[in-house]
Amino acid sequence: MSKSELGNNIRRLRFAHGEMTQQKLADIAGVTRQTIIAVEQGKYTPSLTLAFKISAAFNLKVEDVFLFQPGETIPKG
């Protein structure tokens, strides 16, 4: 799958939220850990629903977790 133009702060936020594991975030969002890894690394652009679920896991707005970076391929965090 191609790199996403959607950057994210998931990795930083996980560590800020008591070193939350990818598996725990996956359980909260209702997806597999592989999907969380792919989203975190910017290899997969999540659906709007999944983006909201991930943001809700951190009690943040979508725009605080995800950011649109046209032309950039490296995820933040």
């Binding site: 799958m1 990795r11 996980r14 594991t21 990818q22 598996q23 996956a26 359980d27 209702g30 997806v31 597999t32 850990r33 592989q34 999907t35 890894i37 792919a38 690394q41 290899k43 997969y44 999540p46 659906s47 629903t49 999944l50």
Partner: protein
Amino acid sequence: MNKTQKGAWFNLGGSLFAICVFSWTGFMLFGLRKFPNKVFMFATLAGFFVITGLSLFYIRKKQSPKEPESDERDKLIQRNAVIAAFVSVWVLLFIANISLQLCFGAGGLIPVWSLAIINVAILYVVLIVYSAAVLVQYGRGGPDE
């Protein structure tokens, strides 16, 4: 590695093994005009048992009780793989028809059983394309952090 990836590895291994066995058998029967020897037959049988045994590899403990069987990314990957497989069917059918016409001419004749072999071969190649498409899209999963 999830269920879909394991299935893809299994199909890939099984299909490649079957294609090798059938190709070699075909070469012996029609090329060398010899019946395959017992060693080859036992090796093939053992190979099929090994591949069947590998289906135990499907048994997978969930990493978490809440882990879903598949999610949106899995479905997208499977859909893309199905499209790749579907395209490959038409490409292979076209190649099969053109190559037969080139080999035997427009008015040439082929035995009826060879059609069944061509169909089975296309089926295996399509399975390989599907499995490869799944595996390529998944790439490598990183360690838990």
